[in-house]
């Protein structure tokens, strides 16, 4: 019998459409976790260990060194670990989707090793050769960055496994211990003692999480670097991750070179007024984050799932289009709610800026920066929701492009605002967030309008690979 009719069957069977979306949904949530943690930790540290008299630099050297090292370490570790963070998140999501998580403990160890290897050259050079510190402080700083990094890496595993409660408890206990032991060791061992005390608190988080992971999975060390092929397959996630995290930090890095910034004898620079103003502004988005989670779980996810289920359930195009419209409606309704809620909060924060600054024991020069940062955070959080929504549709390239745009927008506009002088400080971040949000909104709606095309063609692994 001549002919190759049998090919037909093979081709129609490839229903790789849904892929790992469902598992990825929850993993995408995890990306907001580190941001919140950073903000809370930094605000706590800035408030708790702030120098009583900002003009008297010599009085509180140890505090400033401690604070600056922690801020630097958060920045180092967030930006440098972003690619690994994104890839491992995706890998775990894929594993959950495949219903095979036996390799999780191995990959956790592999990721930690990978993260240390990536950071060691940068951090090692910076603390051992660039800054001017006593040896005890150099070592304490390096230990601290590894602890912070470990916390990220482990949080990925637990959030991906959806054990939110264990994570919360570990973090609370760890952070309280960190604060107490830093305070306790301050008097006997100075700045290095504080840093080690803080690291000790983080170590509690790390070991609790490790224990949790090992207790949840049978321990088996086997293929710890199984996630490495994902770097090639999902390179857009890695690249996008590094740009997005750098975008979050770039305005601070640039502002550290403002004339008003301080340069410590260790050669490290920072601008505490700008940093604390923006960190405080970030707090205003917590209510929006909470409503977003609820809204996604109740509204969006159900429609999203229906959309893909009906495609795979062999429904006609008419039905798929109806479902698509329901997704668009849901996105629009949610957007309206967020903008309303977050708008009111931002409005109040700007209105009550003076009171808030006073309440937080901050200085009047921070009021302008705080107001801009509140507006920036408003658009930033909306942008974040859009990026997550696009991630649900697995449009990795699009997400990466927006993240790259955000980085360059924040860089250029912050440089511009720095150049414009003090009244404009913070405006760069605000404008960058607003512009990128505008772009992402446009792209999200274009994408959702062509959702079916993208689901079947551009985001379909059965076709693009």
């Amino acid at each position: 019998m001549a002919g190759i009719g049998f090919v037909i069957q093979k081709l129609t069977k490839k229903d790789d459409l849904l892929g790992v979306f469902r598992a990825y949904t929850h993993a995408a949530m995890a990306s907001t976790g580190p941001w919140l943690f950073t903000v809370l930790a930094l605000i706590g540290i800035t408030q708790f260990f702030t120098s009583s008299d900002p003009t008297d630099l010599n009085a509180d050297f140890g505090y400033d060194n401690f604070r600056i090292v922690v801020i630097y370490n958060f920045a180092f570790s967030l930006v440098l670990s972003a690619p690994v963070f994104m890839i491992v998140t995706r890998y775990i999501a894929d594993e959950i989707h495949k219903k095979d998580v036996t390799n999780t403990p191995s990959v956790m160890l592999g990721s930690l090793i990978l993260l240390y290897l990536i950071q060691l050259p940068v951090v090692g050079w910076f603390y051992m050769f660039y800054v001017d510190f006593p040896l005890s402080m150099r070592i304490a700083a390096i230990v601290n960055v590894f602890m912070i990094t470990s916390v990220w890496a482990l949080a990925v595993f637990l959030t991906a496994l959806k054990d939110y409660f264990a994570v919360s408890v570990a973090f609370a206990v760890g952070m309280i211990t960190a604060a107490l032991s830093a305070q306790f060791l301050k008097d006997s061992y100075g700045e290095a003692g504080m840093l080690n005390g803080f690291s000790f608190g983080l170590a509690i988080i790390v070991f609790t999480l490790v224990a949790k992971i090992f207790s949840e999975y049978s321990y088996r060390l086997d293929r710890p670097f199984a996630m490495l092929p994902h770097f090639r397959k999902y390179w857009e996630l890695a690249v996008g991750g590094i740009f997005y995290n750098a975008a979050i930090w770039i305005d601070k890095w640039i502002m550290w070179f403002a004339p008003e910034a301080i340069k410590l004898p260790s050669k490290m620079v920072m601008y505490p007024d700008y940093d604390s103003a923006t960190f405080l502004a970030y707090l205003t988005i917590v209510p929006a984050l909470a409503t977003f989670m609820v809204s996604v779980e109740t509204h969006f996810f159900e429609r999203y799932q229906r959309y893909y289920d009906d495609i795979l359930g062999h429904m006609p195009l008419r039905r798929i289009r109806e479902n698509q419209q329901r997704i668009i409606d849901s996105v629009l309704a949610s957007a309206r709610n967020f903008i309303l809620v977050q708008g009111v909060i931002a409005f109040l924060a700007i209105l009550l800026a003076v009171e808030i600054i006073n309440l937080c024991d901050m200085v009047y020069t921070q009021i302008g920066m705080f107001r801009f940062a509140v507006l920036g955070a408003f658009f930033h959080v909306l942008l974040l929701f859009e990026l997550i929504a696009l991630s649900y549709f697995d449009s990795r390239k699009l997400v990466m492009r927006i993240q790259i745009v955000y980085f360059f927008a924040n860089t250029l506009l912050t440089l511009w605002s720095l150049n414009q002088g003090f009244p404009y400080y913070g405006m760069g971040y605000f404008m960058a967030s607003m512009l990128t949000f505008g772009l992402a909104t446009f792209l999200l709606f274009t994408h959702t309008r062509k959702l079916t095309y993208h689901s079947f063609i551009s985001n379909n692994n059965a076709i693009i690979t």
């Binding site: 019998m1 001549a2 002919g3 190759i4 009719g5 049998f6 090919v7 037909i8 069957q9 093979k10 081709l11 129609t12 069977k13 490839k14 229903d15 459409l17 495609i311 795979l312 062999h314 429904m315 006609p316 195009l317 008419r318 798929i320 062509k450 095309y453 079947f456 063609i457 551009s458 076709i463």
Partner: protein, 499 residues
């Protein structure tokens, strides 16, 4: 892909030679081997992916070989998407309508309007392609599973485009060994080069696809057809089937000569749009001398044989029933079932049960796969009870050594046993033709042949003569030699006329 010297004949094969063993491949290899004064280019159409290994080594007159992977389109970095709206008309004709060669020409012309040869992006992945697909879906399949339509559309279009856009080897004559994609490529060769095109069909391609699609459970239907009688909605099976039927019609339209093994097939070819003046029968032949040499040996029991695999399509159970009826009148009957029992072990087991049930253990013997030469001397009659056949050579092989045959009226059986309608002079019956699935009729025909000595002798003589005159390998080779020579000469003539 190898070197390419211009060949006399480009043989277009789909899913067979030189990668798959089987009837068509063996036939092709022999054809090339015997036409040693002509050179061949082998174009093998293969599925999109999957490893293949050569099962045949090419004779020296094969001067070129090209693999064409179906649905394998160029993947370009630079993208030149443009509206494909113009394709909708001809593509609709090709899939759900009634297509002609000019529809294919139309598609080729539109594809030619791209600045560079379009690839997978332009034709399947671009938003323009998506719009075309949606529009074609809405027009005819709006109630069907969109997911299945999507994959079917991609597979069908990908197949079509790969046939239209792959490099075409140069040759004087294009000879497709089936319709389907091979026929489509031959039609393209006709449109592009104007050179002679021949098609040889062993089985009827559309029939084979129809059977395959009927049993394809991956095509899900959402609507129930039983609710209304005048339901004009199309199913995805129709999409596939109409496409294949259209491909056949286009190939027949483009072909200068449409050859098959026996006249029975021509009905299907005419139904699929072939015009009668192009049709020709070239039956398969056998090595007459080899079988004529076999001497019959005297034996005591009247012996019949079913020579074929023990599978349902051969209706071995019908044969056993025939034996049970015959045993009452011919108590010393011997019946062989000669063929492999491994292909369908359940069925073979059921057959053996049946033999016990009818107490035929002494009559029916399953020999397994054996050399026919060794058994022919002691067989009096070959029996074919199949419900489907094309041109079973066993009738000819037995016939060459003077063994008549009783066969069901399938494929070329009647033509071989009773003679073609235009046989001159009439040689007479070389056995008997009986209706399908009718053991009583089969038993009666067998009984008559085994008991009426004169009738038997005349049948034996008739079949021997017919095989010698019309069914020798040499005749098959001469026929193809003549066909190739005629069309090559026509091509040379046309070239000269062009100057």
């Amino acid at each position: 892909m190898k070197n390419q010297k211009k060949a006399d004949i480009c043989l277009i094969l789909e899913g067979t030679y030189p990668y798959v063993e089987g009837g068509v491949s063996t036939w092709t290899h022999e054809l090339i081997d015997t036409q040693e004064d002509k050179t061949f280019h082998i174009l093998s159409i293969l599925p999109r992916e999957g490893e293949v290994t050569h099962k045949f080594s090419f004779p020296p007159n094969v001067v070129g070989h090209t693999d064409l992977r179906l649905q394998n389109l160029k993947k370009t970095g630079i993208r030149h998407a443009r509206s494909l709206k113009a394709l909708e008309g001809p593509l609709n004709n090709l899939t759900v309508g009634r297509a002609h060669l000019n529809d294919m020409q139309h598609v080729m012309r539109i594809l030619g309007q791209f600045n560079t040869r379009p690839g997978e992006y332009e034709l399947l992945d671009s938003e323009e392609a998506w719009e075309l697909m949606e529009s074609m879906y809405e027009a005819s399949f709006s109630e069907s599973s969109f997911l299945d339509y999507f994959w079917s559309w991609r597979a069908i279009m990908g197949g079509l485009y790969s046939i239209l856009l792959s490099p075409l080897p140069e040759a004087q004559v294009y000879h497709a060994l089936s319709t389907g994609y091979a026929g489509l490529l031959a039609a393209r060769a006709k449109l592009e080069t104007g050179r002679p095109v021949m098609i040889t069909e062993h089985g009827i391609y559309t029939n084979e696809r129809r059977i395959e699609l009927a049993s394809a459970d991956w095509l899900e239907e959402n609507f129930s057809r039983s609710l209304t009688i005048d339901d004009t909605r199309l199913s995805l099976r129709d999409l596939w089937m109409d496409a294949f039927t259209n491909y056949s019609r286009i190939a027949y339209e483009a072909a200068d000569e449409i050859i098959t093994l026996f006249t029975g097939n021509q009905k299907a070819q005419l139904a699929d749009g072939a015009t009668p003046e192009k049709l020709k029968v070239v039956p398969n032949g056998i090595d007459v001398e080899r079988f004529a040499k076999i001497r019959r040996t005297p034996h005591e029991r009247p012996t019949i044989a079913l020579i074929g695999r023990v599978v349902p399509i051969k209706d071995v159970k019908g044969f056993i029933r025939t034996c049970a009826m015959l045993k009452e009148h011919l108590p010393d009957l011997k019946a062989y079932v000669m063929g492999s029992r491994e292909e369908d072990e359940n069925y073979a087991h059921e057959c053996e049960e049946m033999v016990r049930h009818f107490s035929l253990e002494d009559v029916v013997e399953f020999t397994g796969q054996v050399a026919i030469d060794e058994y022919l001397p002691k067989i009096d009659l070959v029996v074919i009870t199949s419900i489907s056949e094309s041109q079973p050579l066993v009738i000819l092989e037995a016939g060459a050594c003077g063994v008549p045959c009783v066969a069901t009226n399938v494929g070329a059986c009647a033509e071989m046993i009773l003679g073609a309608s235009d046989e001159q002079p009439r040689l007479g019956a070389g056995g008997a033709v009986v209706p399908l699935s009718n053991p009583a009729a089969t038993a009666e025909a067998v009984y008559t042949l085994l008991t009426d000595r004169d009738y038997y002798k005349s049948c034996a003589e008739a079949i021997r003569q017919r095989v010698t005159l019309y069914y020798s390998k040499e005749q098959q080779h001469i026929a193809y030699d003549a066909l190739y020579s005629t069309w090559m000469a026509a091509q040379t003539e046309a070239k000269r006329a062009e100057g």
